[in-house]
Structure formats: C-alpha cells, structure tokens
C-alpha cells in the first residue's frame, strides 16, 4: 500500500506537471489535424475521363501481342484531400507494351506510384492458415503463389518482379483489418490481390479503409455483398468469384427451369453473413420465378448435433419439397447430411454452394452426399474442362507449389484466377503503373474475353462490379460409402439475370 504521507488530495498537487503535459497533448493533437497526419491518407482519385474506345486484349502471362488499349481519357488531377499527402495521379493514356516489346527495368519509369519501383511491385494479402477458416481457405495461398512464381520466372511485368507478402490473420476480423492497414502504410503495398481472409477485408471495407486509401483489391472471393458495393465503399474492390446472392439465384433458377422444381426448402448457415444474405436471395428468386418456399431452416455451424433441427426440417419438407438448397459450411453440411436430413436427391433436387465444393466434404459425407449438386463459378479441373489449356496450367502451376492441396477447392481456384486478373491489370497498366490506371483498366476491359479462361468473359464497370454471374453444377458421386468424385451437370454455365437484386 502507498505510504500515506505522500498522498495529496485531488486535484493532486504534484501532478500539475501531468496537467501541463495533457495540455501539450491537446494542443499538439489539434495541430495534427492541420499537419500531415499519421493516418490513412485521403487518396485523391482523379475522375476517370470519358472512356476511349476500348479494344480487346488478352492479358496474363502468355504475353499479349495486341496493341494496348487506350484507357479512359486523361483524368484531371484530383484535388488534394484534407491532410492528404498525395495528389491525384494524372490520368495518362496507357499504352500496353508486351514483354516482347522490350519493356524493362531501365525503361519502365521507376517509382510511378506507391509500392512500385523500377524492379518490383509490392503486393500483400492476408491469408487464413489457422483457426476455423483454415479448412477451406487454407489452400488459397498456393494459387496466389503459383501465379506470382510463374510471372517472376518470366522476368516479371515490364522488368518488375512481384513481391508478394502473405500474412496469416487466422480469419480474425480485427487482426485482419489491422494487418491490411499495416500493408497500406508500412509495407506500402501497391495493391492487395485476392485477400481470401474475408473477415478482415470486410471490416476494412466497411470502415472506409480501402476507399480512403484508394488501394486496388483485385480478384476477391466475393462471397459477401459488401464486396460489390462499387458505388460506395467498395469502389476499389473487384471480386472475381460469383457472389453468394448470385449463387442462390442460380440455384433456384436451375432447379425451377431445368428440373421442374416448384416447391423449395432451404437449410442455411445463420451464423456467418453469407448464410443470411443467401437466404434472402434464394427466397426472393423463388418468389420471382413463381415457385413456393415451403420452409427455411437456420443452422448454427458451431453445433455438433442437429437431430432436432433435422426432424423439424424433415417434418416440413420430406416429400413436400422438390428441391432442397444447402447454404452451409462444409462441416455443417456434413453433419446435416449424415444426420439424415431430407435432400430430394432422387430428383436432382438438392444442391449446395461453392464452400461445399471440396474433396474433403466428399470423403467426409460419403454416400450421404451422393447425388447432391454443388455449384462453382470456375471451370474445375474435372471432366469436361480438365483438358483445357487454362485449366491444365492451373493444375500444373499449383501442383508445383503444393503436392497435396485440393485442386477442387473453389476458393483455391478463385485465388489463382484472382491472381491472374491482378497480373492482367498490372500488365495492362504498365509501364507507367499507377493505381488509377489499374482502376481504369479493370472498370473497362473484360477479362478472359476469349472464353478460354477459367471463367466466361468477365466485365466490371464503374459503380457496378457484378462481373462473374454464371455458375456450373457438379454432383457428388459416392458408392458403398466411398467418394468417387464429381460428375458434371450437362447444363453448362447458368447465368443470373438479377445479380444486384436482393443485396
């Protein structure tokens, strides 16, 4: 305990020093709001001028032979934001040079923007290597590293190698956004590719970090609707995967139009956001189509036993629903299916969304999954796409990074494709590589336009980033308790006509 004799009452006599110091802090902090401050610099984004006629080009590491496209007309330099330290970059006519044209470290213009030097481009992303998300998001890093390694093997982009930093944030929202902020300020990353750790990314989108920094986030997994808010906080985010909302639309449409389903049931995850978004989308699409939504069952992924829920679900849906939608994490899906939930499999009437497209789930649920469909927005390394050049390249380059990663994991494939998109954008905006140029490119030039990529052609537009709106369906095949693989649905790509509805 303190020695009593030294104490003084309040206000404490000796601490007038502290009071003085406090005053200094107050004054100093106020001054800080005038001086350049230690915070997210308010990015000055120049307005994109009227678009010039965009011309097709191929991107990626195969080396373009086309001439570059003229991006939108020169942008007026943005006004300096209050306290911002950056001027908006002047728009420029970017002329793309293929690597064959001799674009190299000596001629690429050096430090054209944050995170760009004459011989490297700094990229950074959070990944999920621990915790609950590791089971389905863990392999994504291999897809990212595969592309980066390949690009660097060919000498980089215009002589700039890709310097890719990956940091595990355990799928934690707080840590994830802090790390992203560190990337922006300390690592001085030019762009953030893929960012599979969606929790942290969503936080950083919602609290304005991404928008204020004006840093491109390219090729994300797009599950949550926040990533598509291109007219608001997510104007610098280009998702490459199909949104959950689109997935559920497609699921309903496929069942209704191609399999004659008229009555629907849904089991969805009521803990993670994707479940709740998807439920609303599904119900609305069914209504739009003219079908009947019989029953929706919310499930907590953290529960081990669904017996009572399954009973209620079966009571309501068994024999009464032509189609059952599953919007669950792989763990929950396995428990649900193995618990005897009704799935209308016999009529091709049960389907799940992308998170369920994993070999692990197939092994785990065995015969219970047999006949259950699952959707993906990418051409998987399976019949009939496995012989395509782009798919072969995916298989080979990822295998070079990891011999055991599950190539069927759609997050992995999305990460790979997202990285390809990043490289395409970087290449197109080089040699005078700026964030504004990357943004201009992504918002105007389609990706995989020749139809031979891992997706159908994708187009983003300013204020509208619903690019990937089509999906394929595969079915689990299992025999005598052992998982055989996936079988393609003959329907091919199904497109969602209302991607930005229900968001």
């Amino acid at each position: 305990m303190q020695d009593m004799k030294e104490k003084r009452g309040f206000p404490p006599g000796a601490s007038w020093i502290t009071v003085l110091a406090l005053a200094v802090v107050v004054v100093g902090a106020s001054l800080m709001s005038v001086y350049p401050h230690f915070g997210p610099p308010v990015a000055a984004t120049g307005a994109v001028g009227a678009a010039g006629t965009a011309q097709n080009q191929t991107g990626g590491d195969t080396g373009g032979t086309d001439t570059g496209a003229t991006s939108g007309g020169p942008a007026a330099p943005g006004a300096a934001g209050s306290g911002g330290s950056q001027q908006g970059a002047a728009g420029s006519t970017t002329v793309k040079q293929g690597t064959s044209s001799g674009c190299n470290a000596a001629t690429n213009g050096g430090n054209t923007d944050v995170g760009v030097t004459s011989n490297k481009i700094v990229l950074a992303s959070t990944i999920v290597n621990s915790g609950v998300g590791q089971s389905f998001l863990g392999p994504v890093q291999y897809g990212m590293q595969a592309v980066a390694a390949s690009v660097n093997r060919h000498g980089g982009i215009c002589g700039r190698r890709l310097d890719l930093t990956l940091v595990d944030d355990g799928w934690n929202a707080e840590t994830g956004c802090q790390y992203i902020q560190n990337f922006i300020h300390d690592t001085q990353a030019f762009a953030l590719p893929v960012v599979p750790s969606s929790e942290g990314l969503t936080t950083c989108i919602q609290n304005g970090t991404i928008h204020n920094a004006g840093i491109p986030v390219i090729g994300t997994d797009g599950m949550l609707e926040q990533q598509y808010d291109a007219s608001g906080a997510a104007d610098w985010v280009w998702p490459i995967a199909t949104s959950t909302i689109s997935t559920m639309h497609i699921m309903a449409i496929d069942a209704y139009k191609n399999h004659g389903a008229r009555t629907f049931c849904l089991a969805y995850d009521n803990h993670y956001k994707f479940g709740q978004e998807g439920q609303k989308a599904f119900d609305n699409e069914v209504k739009r189509l003219g079908g009947t939504e019989v029953y929706d069952q919310g499930l907590d992924p953290n529960q081990s036993d669904y017996s009572a829920f399954i009973k209620t679900f079966n009571d309501n849906c068994s024999g009464k629903a032509d189609f059952v939608g599953l919007l669950l994490t792989p763990t929950a899906a396995a428990t649900w299916l193995k618990g005897g939930a009704y799935t209308a499999k016999d009529r091709d009437g049960a389907a799940g969304a992308q998170p369920m497209f994993t070999t692990d789930l197939g092994n785990n649920c065995g015969d219970f999954c047999d006949g259950v469909k699952v959707y993906t927005g990418f051409r998987p390394p399976l019949t009939p796409y496995s012989s395509m050049a782009s798919v072969q390249q995916y298989i080979n380059s990822v295998r070079a990074q990891s011999s055991s990663a599950d190539l069927n994991n759609q997050f992995l494939e999305g990460g790979y494709d997202g990285m390809l998109l990043t490289v395409a954008a970087l290449t197109a905006a080089s040699p005078h590589l700026t964030r504004a140029a990357v943004k201009a490119y992504l918002d105007s030039v389609p990706f995989a336009a020749d139809g031979n990529g891992l997706t159908p052609p994708l187009r983003w537009k300013t204020g509208y980033h619903f690019a990937n709106t089509s999906m394929l369906a595969y079915s689990f095949v299992s025999n005598s308790g052992s998982f055989q693989g996936f079988r393609a649905d003959p329907t091919g790509f199904i497109t969602d006509p209302n991607p930005n509805q229900d968001s």
Binding site: S304, A308, N364
Partner: protein, 290 residues
C-alpha cells in the same frame, strides 16, 4: 408422440453430457478441483483414435485412444493440479483453464481445423422413426453411458477404492494415517475421469464430427449439468445431463421458440443461474477457513 421422438433424438447429447459430467464429478470427488480442462481430455482421445485407426485395427485404436485420455488426465493432474496444490481456488481454476487452452491450441495446430471423418464404433445406419431417425451410434452412446454410470456409482459406493478416493480428498492426512496413499487415489480418479471423457469424445465424434473447437466445447453444457446435479453426486450428474441434453436437444424442435437463435443456450443459462441462486446461502460458519 412427436415430443417423444424429439426427446429420443437428444439421446447422443444426453449420453455425451452425462459421461462428461461423470468424469468431472469423479475428479472433483477425489481432487476437489473443477477440471475446466475436461474439454481437452475429450478431444485428445478422439484424435488419437482417428489417427491410429488408419494404421491399426479399430479395437486396438480404441483402447489406446481411451488410454490417451487417461494419460492426459494424469499429466494435467501432475503438471497443473499438484503444482498448484495449496494455492487459492482461483489459482487452481486458472491453472485448469490454462491447461485447456494449451491442449486446444496444440490439437488445432497439429491436426488442423478441417473436420475429419471419425471411424464409428457402432454400425452406420438409422432406426427410423417417422420422418427422422436415430443413429445406431447414438443409441450405443447412450447405452454405454448407462453402463459406465452404473459402474462408477458402484465403484464409489460399494468398494473400498471408492471410499478411499472420497476420503483422501476430504482429509488427506487422515487418509495417510489410515494407510491410503492420497496421491495414488487422486491419480486413479484422474485416470477414470480421463477415460470417461475419452469414451465420450470418441463416441460423440462418431455420430457428429471430429472438430477441435466444436467437440471440446461440448464439455461446456456438461458443466451446467454438474452444476444442476451437484458436484458431489454421481446420480445427480446424470440427472443434470438429462435436463441439459433435453433442453439443448429438444428446444430447437419446438415451433416458435425453437427458431430463436441461441434460445437453448439462453435457457440453459437461466436454469443454471436459478439453480445456483437457490443453492446459495448467506455466510455461514462453513465459510470460515480452517
């Protein structure tokens, strides 16, 4: 009829919770410590069995798996409980919490968090009841629990070992004077507790999933069960498990109330707090430390 079916569906939960609760009570009776690391003693045997079953016959894997539960119990007792003996209750409690944290982190790191397919002791398949069914494994879990509960009860009530375990905890010096080795009896209690936890973990994972977080957190409702039944009573533990399992298993099946997220857990908390409130008293002479 419908309610009965729904109630029967809660069998695996009741069985698992009861086994957990029994383990907790056995350990408490012998060691005077509430083992908050029980969740850890549940997942280690389950993962051990899973890993071994890929190379060894299932029966052998099971035995070794359950044994690993006992081993974990012994280790926790030696490293955490005995070292902290004589410290305040708070310190000991924090010690078991620390043990739990370490075990969970290690398992998650080594095996990853992808749910794994657990080999099932009982045959796969359902007993069909109307629109749903009970797995054979669930019934098996419940029956095993009844057998083990009876065994524990008999052990503590009718054998000298049981008596010794209870006595050694109450007054270790007196027990020593009577020729009982208090350390040995404590260790036996932890071995039993660990084995019970192991059996529960293996069987429960067989009917649900092998996942470090979910499985270990199943021990939490067991603490509520123990609270309701009282730390001193083995039959009370089973009764508590019945109540808790019933609430968690049956409530979601009820219309209206069942669709509120987290309603079973909220109900559990209310029940637990009410029980604790009724059990508590004002300060008495019993609060004087000796």
């Amino acid at each position: 009829m419908d309610i009965i079916v729904t109630a029967l569906l809660a069998l695996p939960l009741v069985g698992a919770y009861a086994l957990f609760a029994l383990g907790i009570v056995v350990i408490f009776q012998a060691s005077r410590v509430l083992n908050l690391a029980h969740g850890g003693m549940v997942i280690v045997p389950a993962y051990m069995t899973y890993a071994l079953a890929q190379h060894l016959p299932l029966a052998l894997s099971l035995i070794i798996g359950v044994g690993s539960g006992s081993l974990v119990g012994l280790l926790v007792e030696r490293i955490f409980i005995r070292t902290l003996r004589g410290e305040s209750m708070t310190t000991q409690t924090v010690g078991t919490v620390a043990a739990f944290g370490v075990i969970l982190a290690l398992i998650a790191k080594v095996f990853g968090t992808t749910p794994l397919p657990m080999p099932s002791v009982f045959p796969q398949g359902f007993v069909h009841l109307g629109s749903s069914g009970i797995k054979y494994g669930s019934i098996g879990l419940f029956v095993v629990m009844l057998v083990l509960a009876g065994g524990m009860f008999a052990l503590f009530r009718f054998t000298s070992l049981g008596l010794a375990m209870r006595g050694a905890a109450q007054n270790s010096r007196a027990a020593q004077l009577m020729g009982i080795n208090p350390i040995r009896t404590t260790q036996i209690a932890w071995v039993l507790g660990g084995a019970l936890a192991g059996v529960a973990g293996i069987l429960l994972a067989g009917v649900t999933d092998l996942d470090p977080y979910n499985l270990s957190l199943q021990a939490l409702p067991a603490f509520v069960a123990v609270l309701i039944g009282g730390l001193e009573s083995l039959p009370g533990a089973v009764l508590g498990a019945l109540i808790v399992g019933g609430v968690v298993g049956v409530l979601p099946g009820l219309p209206g109330l069942g669709s509120i997220q987290g309603a079973p857990q909220l109900m559990l908390m209310i029940v637990a707090f009410v029980v604790m409130a009724r059990r508590g008293q004002r300060l008495t002479a019993g609060d004087l430390r000796a």
